[in-house]
Symmetry: C2
């Protein structure tokens, strides 16, 4: 089996609320929009994010987990600078995100170049989170690691 994700599908309570947040708020353009059922967005070269009304999701996949707590998934959106992270979190707040956690310096990071004394220079990562209307957490991240951070940035 190839290492490929084609679609990421999340169950949502109300497609109209989802549309207002992602389209009107974040400024995204749907690839497919079936009112009351599903809205899909391109989210990479060969990747689609699908937000599927929960009764349709349950009819095909099964009854959803209920109860308090966060869903066991996060989606990250990586950027090339800490300033760009702050800007996207501001956009999410203005779009009506129900929960924004300001970005903080993270323990993880990467070695980028050398210090004057020749030792490798460690630069910390920086990320925060916003929730979409269903509580799905988007991590907005700056990852200076030349390997992991660079892989996920667009060319």
């Amino acid at each position: 089996m190839d290492q490929r994700i084609s679609f990421v599908t999340l169950a949502v309570a109300d497609i109209d609320v989802t549309r207002r947040f992602y389209v009107d708020g974040l400024g995204w353009t749907p690839e497919l929009d079936v009112p009351g059922e599903v809205i899909m967005f391109r989210a990479g070269e060969h990747l689609v994010l699908s937000l599927w009304e929960r009764s349709h999701f349950e009819a095909e996949v099964g009854a959803l987990m209920t109860g308090h707590g966060v869903a066991p998934i996060t989606i990250a959106h990586n950027l090339a600078t800490p300033e760009a992270v702050d800007a996207v979190l501001s956009t999410a707040r203005a779009a009506g995100s129900p929960h924004v956690e300001e970005a903080v310096r993270r323990d993880w990071g990467g070695y980028t170049g050398l210090l004057e004394d020749g030792t490798p220079r460690f630069v910390h990562g920086y990320s925060g989170y916003f929730s979409d209307p269903d509580g799905y957490r988007w991590e907005i991240a700056y990852n200076p690691d030349p390997k992991l951070g660079a892989i996920v940035l667009p060319d």
Copy 2:
């Protein structure tokens, strides 16, 4: 905010079990493997799938939803033919997937070319599901739609 997903992160109970399934079972190659903590796989041009041990996930993101039922997410892996769908589901079964749902013809699909009388020819989609060791559902899919199906296939 650009329409881009950089990482998909799933909380998992046991990294060793996850590694056995994805690496030994499905034959995937990790990009990063920190025993007991996280294992990451490239899953697209600028996309990484991260499987994060749940106590680490909860420390950063918050307490997880508990209870019966499926997680509110599926990940799809699309293929160019129905036969390739069956082959991947067989691979997942051999890899020890705890739950495989054989592929079936779906109501959705796409118009591909014309019938002899000149009317558009509708071809049904075909997909099944397997669960990974934590119960996350992978949909293995053939989508004949020239737009949505083609977007997600590799060049």
